[in-house]
Every structure is written in C-alpha cells, then in structure tokens.
C-alpha cells in the first residue's frame, strides 16, 4: 500500500516538484482570474485582430507578472534558506538544479495560467481571423515574463525574509510600468505604450531587441542566483560581463530611442462605392465596410454639396506610410481608423463631419466657441461651425431636427439649402448665429 501511495503521489506531484502545490496553485489561480477579468470586456469587441492580440500578450502581463514575481520571491525566500535540511550549501544540487527547478515550476504554472486566461480573447480574435500573429512580440512578452519572474526569485534568494515578496512585487511592477513613463523603456519592458493593430506593427528593431535584452537579463539573473547559492560565494569574470552587458542594453535605447510602431504596408483592400464616394478597408476589416459606408453616407448627404465630400473614405490600416496619409488627404481621401474595440457610431460620423466643416480655429477665437450674447463675434461665429459639425454627426442616426444649438428645430432640407448657398462663408468662418434663417 505504501509503495502504491508513493507511486501515485510521485506521479501527481511531478508538476509541482519539489514545491508544495499551494505555492504555485494560489498565484496561478490569481493570475488566471486577473487575466480573465482584464480581458473579459474585450471579448465583445469589434475588429479584433492577431497583431493586436500579439501585443496584448505583453500588455496584459503587467499585473500577472507581478504576481508571478511575488510567488517566485516567496519560493526563493522560503526554500533556499541555508538552515533548511534540504537547502544545505554542500548539497550538490543547491547551486543550480534547485533554483532552476523552482523557477521552472513557478514560471511554468504562472505563465500557463496567464496563457489560459488569454485563451477566451484568443478565441474571439480567431473568430475574426484578421491579420497574422506577431511571433516576435509574443516571444518578447513570454521571455520578459520569465525574466521578471526570475528577478522576483532573486529578490527572495537575496532577502530571504518576509520583505522579499513586497520588494519583488514593487520592483517588478515598477519595471513593467516604465514604458508608461518614457517610450525609451519600451524595448526593455513587456509592453509598448501604444498597442499596434492590423496594418501596423512594432518597428523591426524593438521586438528582437526586447527578446535579446530579456534573454541577457535572464542569464545575468540566473548567474547571480547561482553565485549567491554557491559555497563559497564566488562571482566570476563571466558573471561581471553579463551584468555589464545588461547595463549596456539598458542604456542603449535611451541614447538612441527606437521608433516604436511602423506601418505594415501589406494590406489588401476591399472597396465599395456609395453615393459617389469610394469606401476601402483592409481585408481584415471586411465586416466593417458596410457599417462605415452606412454611417458616413448620411453625413455627406446632409451637407449636400457633392464636391465637399471626399473622393474616398479609407481605412488607416491600409496606409503604407505617414507620407501617404498626408498626400492622399490632400487629394481627397478621408482616413478612418478601425482599431480593435472601436465604436463606429462614434468614430465614423465625427471624422466625416470634420472633413466637411472647417476647424473652429479658423475663426480666430483661439478655439473658443460660444453663443453667449456678450461673447466676442469670433467665438459666436465659431459656435456656428461647432454646432454644424455636431448637427452633421447626428445625421448618421437621425433624420429629423435637433433640439439644441443653433441648428435646433431646423429642418434638414432647409439646412442643406442654406449650406448650398453659403459654402464660401462657411469655409472662411463668416457666419453669425443671428443670420441663420431658422433663427430669425
């Protein structure tokens, strides 16, 4: 009976060996819950794509990796104290195999829990199937997750007391948050400050640099742990070299910051035409094409002047360069972003109206728009443009008059007729609220 128990137990505990299961199951469960909670709202998002998900593997790891580092610190502090009967410095495996196994078990469980937590989002992305996964970004995130977990373990081995966990948690949270302070840290952390999506990608240098940095960091950390557990403690020249290499790798991006995002420039377009306007989206956004046209067409129609509408409404994911965006804008292309989680009801009518109506800054009021009786004339004229934009935006959803602003109560046909007669005055911001026909 004893041997049967022993065999059963050995088989079951291989996944945790040599740690008590609670030391890995609790953080793994916490990571799973955190990841699910963090991504749950995204499951219903529109326009999800693999490029975005690839970047999210790093972005969403910011809290899970803190938990993993805390768990590793606890294991390091609890199970490498020299007083323990199985952590004696003369035991042959204490220097390398033991920390390696500890880290493998903690990282394996935490990383698996994290990836399982990302699974529903992955399924949601797969349902759209747009784009292709960015393996470099994913590899960088996973390498970073492992390296920062190892950093937590080092905190445990170094401090070996109750302080180890809060110190590891605080430091790793800081390291994972550095890109939010400065873009220069993006190549040295898990997440870019802005997640790329379909049509864009991380710049060529950032991804491989991040992988290289985290590999280097992991080597230096492993070396440090081994040196701390070695008897007698010894820090070799190779160790010094690894630490110096990490320091150089940290400094380099600050001396010469990497460009973070680049246009992928590999999209195939899918187009349709509605009321003389051509609508084109990235093939991965095929499902959004009709929606965009449905929401933009009434805005252009409400304005009434066919010449004022753009020749083409184009998905930003199709842009091959920043120069192309500027060039085509000048030649009659309205660019519309279709990022994951976008809300077309908000994000299509607005740029369409902005395309038609000049910016209020043209009125010379410093951007101030006001209908107050004592407001400067420039501000009152700016209010006409601002309210015209707002009125045009409502056309995407309504046919009738609006309730407030200078266009309150105006029949759409009447507004359209007025616009038809005053295009020049609108473009030069030369319309006073008082002269609008429905207000007199």
């Amino acid at each position: 009976m004893t041997s049967t128990c022993s065999r059963t137990r050995t088989r079951a505990s291989v996944l945790f060996w040599p740690l008590p299961p609670v030391f890995v199951l609790v953080p793994a469960a916490l990571i799973l819950v955190l990841t699910l909670a963090d991504t749950w709202s995204q499951l219903s998002w529109r326009a999800l794509d693999w490029v975005y998900l690839s970047a999210e593997v790093g972005t969403r790891a910011r809290l899970p990796v803190v938990v993993a580092a805390g768990a590793a610190a606890l294991v390091g502090a609890r199970f490498t104290r020299p007083g323990l009967v199985f952590a004696q410095r003369w035991q042959p495996r204490v220097e390398r195999d033991v920390p390696w196994r500890h880290c493998a078990v903690v990282t394996g469980w935490c990383l698996t829990a994290y990836l399982v937590g990302l699974f529903p989002l992955t399924l949601a992305v797969a349902a759209y199937g747009a784009g292709v996964p960015d393996l470099t970004a994913i590899a960088g995130a996973l390498t970073g997750f492992a390296a920062l977990t190892l950093f937590g373990y080092l905190c445990g081995v170094t401090l070996r007391g109750p302080l180890a966990v809060p110190v590891a948690v605080g430091l790793v949270f800081l390291l994972a948050s550095l890109p939010l302070v400065s873009d220069a840290w993006s190549a040295l952390s898990l997440q870019p400050p802005v997640s790329p999506s379909l049509g864009t990608r991380e710049s060529t240098a950032v991804g491989p640099y991040r992988i290289g940095f985290f590999l280097l960091l992991a080597v230096a950390l492993a070396w440090t742990v081994a040196a701390l557990l070695r008897t007698p403690r010894r820090f070799s020249a190779g160790y010094g070299l690894a630490v110096a290499a990490v320091a150089v790798a940290v400094v380099l991006p600050h001396l010469r910051p990497f460009p973070l995002l680049a246009h992928a420039g590999n999209g195939t377009e899918v187009c349709s035409e509605r009321a003389g306007v051509r609508y084109c989206v990235h093939e991965g956004h095929r499902d959004e094409l009709t929606t965009i046209a449905d929401l933009a067409t009434p805005v252009f129609a409400a304005y009434g002047l066919a010449d004022a509408a753009p020749d083409e409404v184009r998905d930003l994911s199709l842009a091959e360069s920043d120069g192309e965006i500027v060039r085509k804008s000048r030649k009659g292309t309205l660019w519309v972003g279709v990022p994951p989680g976008w809300e077309p009801e908000q994000e299509v009518p607005s740029p369409a109206a902005e395309w038609l109506v000049p910016d209020v800054f043209r009125c010379g009021s410093g951007g101030v728009a006001s209908l107050a009786a004592d407001a400067p004339p420039e501000a009152r004229r700016a209010a006409v443009l601002a309210d015209l934009r707002a009125w045009l935006i409502t056309r995407a959803h309504e046919d009738g008059p609006v309730d407030d602003g200078v266009f309150a109560g105006a029949a759409p046909e009447r507004v359209r007729e007025w616009i038809r007669r005053n295009p020049e005055r609108l473009s030069t911001c030369d319309v006073n609220p008082g002269e609008l026909p429905w207000r007199t």
């Binding site: 041997s3 137990r9 050995t10 291989v14 042959p92 495996r93 204490v94």
Partner: protein, 263 residues
C-alpha cells in the same frame, strides 16, 4: 540502502597534516592528522578547539588550504574532489530547520534530490531512509507536527536518503529529552554498522553508548584517539571514579580541559 554496503567498501575520512586558520586569526587546525574508520567515531574537544572548523572543512563549507583531507578517495583540495565528497557525505548540522508545510516524506525526498538523486529515485529513497530512522509511519505527517526527537531523526533521514558512505552528525542529541536521546542514539548506532559515522558531541553518554572510537581535538590536533575504555582508563587515572555518572562527567570535563592545556 543496504546494496551500497554489499557492493562498496566503507569509506574512510583521512586528514593529513591539515592546517586551517581564519583571516587575522590564530591557526585553528595545526597539522591535524587523523583517520576515521567505518563505525561510529566520536569527536570531542573543549570549546574553541576547532571541532566546528573541522566539520566545516569536511562538508566543503570551508576550503582546504593546507594539508590533505580525503573522503574516501575524494581529495577536498580539488573541485572534483569536493564535488565527489558532497555526493558521498551526509551531514546533520546542530541547528537545522524544516519547512512546516512539507510532509516528512516530501522533506526527505527533497533532500535526496538536492543531494543528487533523480526525481524518480527520491520517493523510494526517502521511504528507505525513514525506515532506517523508524519514522516510516509518520511519512505523511507535516513536519510542523513533529516532536524535537522526531525532527532530529528527520534530519538524519534527510542526510541518509542519498545513501552516503560517510555520515557526519553535529551534536545530534543536543536539546532532546532523555527518551528522545535514547531513540536517536539507537538509530545512529544502527547506521554505524555499515558506514562511517562521525559524531561531534559534548555529551559523554553519547560517546559511551555510541562510539567505537573517539578522537579528542585540542590545540588544532587530535590529541587522543582510541576506544571509550581507553578514555575511561585515562579518567580513572585522574581519580574521578570508575563508573560514569555525575562524577564521571566532571572528570571527563577535567580530562578534556587537561588534554587541551597539554596541547
């Protein structure tokens, strides 16, 4: 566990002209030469005589700088020798701790793995070691529930699980009540039948019941090496009495001190 005895020669521990001194300190070991044969050997000595230093050298915690120290054929002055000796040695320090959340079996299996056994071997090795120290029935208990004597036996089992040729025990019965002390002594005596066991202790009862040979360390050297009756005879010469008891303890202390002074 017994297979090692059937196939291998028991290991000896040999020190030849062993010297050691800490930085800026006096020389702690000064030309120490000694051979520890299979069986249970006691290491005695007054406080500050270098017992702890000798044990630290033996378990490779301190580097051998002068002279030779061999565990079997493993020369502790070389990296390879130290590596081999670590696998051949089991050591129970005077003060050690257990992780309370682990079971007795897991603790011993973990120690066996840390000593170099493969993960597959560890479970069976732990059970064998626990049987040797009469703790097999507590294998599933958490270590936090154990008494002092049971903890000490877990420590011995942890040092035994990889089946070392040489077992080193530092004050194995210190702090135990008489019943527990007796139990630990029985275990150690049994272990000495098929391996080399070196026991550092200051308890004369341990020496009397356990050790077939005794070495007294004083002034950085082994000043006495012999059997307990020979040590007893020396004590009788000091007119302390023939049977050990409270008078014997005092005589023993005087003898150890005198050997120290002579050195």
């Amino acid at each position: 566990m017994s297979s090692r005895v059937e196939t291998d020669e028991p290991m000896r521990v040999t020190a030849e002209d062993l010297n050691f001194g800490y930085r800026r300190g006096r020389r702690v070991l000064d030309g120490l030469s000694w051979t520890v044969d299979p069986g249970v050997t006691g290491l005695l000595g007054p406080n500050g005589s270098g017992k702890t230093t000798l044990l630290s050298l033996l378990v490779t915690l301190l580097p051998v700088r002068g002279g030779r120290l061999l565990v079997g054929d493993h020369d502790l002055a070389t990296a390879g020798g130290r590596e081999g000796a670590r696998r051949a040695l089991g050591f129970v320090p005077q003060h050690f701790s257990l992780a309370g959340e682990l079971t007795v079996a897991d603790t011993v299996a973990y120690a066996a793995w840390a000593h170099g056994l493969s993960r597959r071997e560890c479970g069976a090795a732990a059970l064998r070691a626990l049987e040797l120290v009469d703790l097999a029935d507590l294998a599933r208990h958490r270590t936090r529930t154990l008494s002092g004597g049971q903890r000490q036996r877990v420590g011995i089992a942890a040092a035994l699980a990889h089946d070392p040729g040489v077992l080193v025990l530092d004050e194995p019965t210190a702090g135990l009540d008489p019943g527990q002390r007796l139990r630990v002594r029985e275990v150690v005596a049994r272990l000495g039948r098929d391996r080399t066991v070196l026991v550092s202790t200051h308890l004369i009862e341990d020496v009397a019941h356990l050790c077939s040979r005794i070495g007294v360390l004083a002034g950085g050297r082994i000043e006495f090496h012999g059997t307990f009756p020979q040590l007893e005879a020396m004590i009788e010469d000091t007119s302390a009495g023939s049977a050990y008891g409270s008078g014997f303890e005092r005589a023993y202390d005087r003898l150890i001190t005198r050997i120290g002074e002579r050195a």
